[in-house]
Symmetry: C2
Subunit: 307 residues, 2 copies
Amino acid sequence: MEKSLKVHVGPVAPPELESAVLAGGAELAAAEEASALVWFGAEPGRFPELDHSGLDWVQLPSAGVESWLAAGVLREGVRFTSAAGTYAQTVAEHALGLMLAGARQIPAMARADSWQRPEGMRSLSGSTVGIIGAGGIGRALIEMLRPFGATVLAVNRSGKPVDGAERTWPAEDAEGVRRVLTGSDFVVVAAPATSQTDELIDAGALAAMKPDAWLINIARGSLVDTDALVAALDAGEIGGAALDVTDPEPLPDGHRLFSHPRALISPHTANPQSLLMPALARRVQENVRRWVAGEPLLAPVDLAAGY
Amino acid sequence: MEKSLKVHVGPVAPPELESAVLAGGAELAAAEEASALVWFGAEPGRFPELDHSGLDWVQLPSAGVESWLAAGVLREGVRFTSAAGTYAQTVAEHALGLMLAGARQIPAMARADSWQRPEGMRSLSGSTVGIIGAGGIGRALIEMLRPFGATVLAVNRSGKPVDGAERTWPAEDAEGVRRVLTGSDFVVVAAPATSQTDELIDAGALAAMKPDAWLINIARGSLVDTDALVAALDAGEIGGAALDVTDPEPLPDGHRLFSHPRALISPHTANPQSLLMPALARRVQENVRRWVAGEPLLAPVDLAAGY
């Protein structure tokens, strides 16, 4: 059958996304008539419209797709794109906020009820920042770090040099990853959740970090061993930790990390709902435009790599 | 008498500052033999070495000099220089940390004991930032804001356009100041404490601000009317406030601002002691070099202007 230029937005159809489809040059249509789906508002797996046979392309609403993979939704024969990169600026901004909160001991200040200067004040200026998983978020963060004259050490999948990083190592180079851990004042975890990155930050990685370094996780909770982190904080092996994602997630009520003097829990708010929609709409418009024009889509999901 | 190139550091003489004097090309000497003093480690007024008659120049250790003025230490016939500009980078970094803490609701997160997403998440990206008193700190902050694509509205004494600001108004232009207050998502107070800036942010100024705007004060407590601020927070007239300086300072134990859900008190730590010394030593070296060479000194205190 000839490909229609019909796109379905659902099961929830926010007007911003429908407008984006039209602005991208396609038509809106019911699911059974559409060749493309913009998925919004449903859990992975709960979207029967996916089953129809004329489907060419599905735009997913999140940057990480591990839950769609786990739900068995992603399949050969249909192109899936994630929202990877869409939220890079807002997530990088959150990461910078968490880094500065750590450097300037803002959690301790927020909890204080009297005028006491916290110890361990640091500066981002002139510091060394390790970015493990330096993709779109990492690139946006590197731009934000330029005015601070920070030295960036990067790890990515390929080891291809990241612009603005002093040095880049491939993720498979264990010695390189270790040099990032031992040399950084801030270790920012921004890698996708895959079987290779599961508990990447374990007891050994934490022990390798500088005793005053802060760990920032804005990727996925599975990348950090939570029990090992609590032990490392208690033992003073690292300076502190600011986590936007946790394992388990949500973290149980009253978990020690909520109130640990050198920890900050941000409940998966790096990409808050209020900021998500405009960014997602821009991505949908651009990918619809590319789809209509027959150009390569942004952020295709690589089923083999898992992201 | 011919000017000697002798400098006294005191009453406390950190090795970093003595090294800076030597690196600047002068000799170290006892107070009574020196033509210049690098003042460190004493309260304003408690430094009798100031009285000797051969004194040409005194380098003060702080950026704000209002307490030296109040103590009657500053006088005609001796050149005084402040440390204004020395700490601009580290103070601007703190200001950015407080802004991001406000935008991302980090105080609420730090105080939470369970996984609850706070309301009112904002982004610095694309926001409008008003800087009242855009001098060295303001310029450093503007550089840090560039990656966020923020629009900067500036107020300074002269009204001379500030690089990177969309528009600059002179402080005496009440209508201009009002436009900064009404148009900004973040209002950063960075002006010196003078009789003109006393309670610059009063009830009227707070009422003029956007209901979701954050007030950041990294200048001096006297610039903000504390009671009016508490009332404005309670009434929801502004989004929140992050204060590195307060009136009174220190803020009394248990003051409502310590625990107010939309307030953050940073106990005068924008320029922490641990970061101060290297920056001050660089300034001392440069001003000693200029003094020896007969060049204009950095940050001369203007007795008439009061800073």
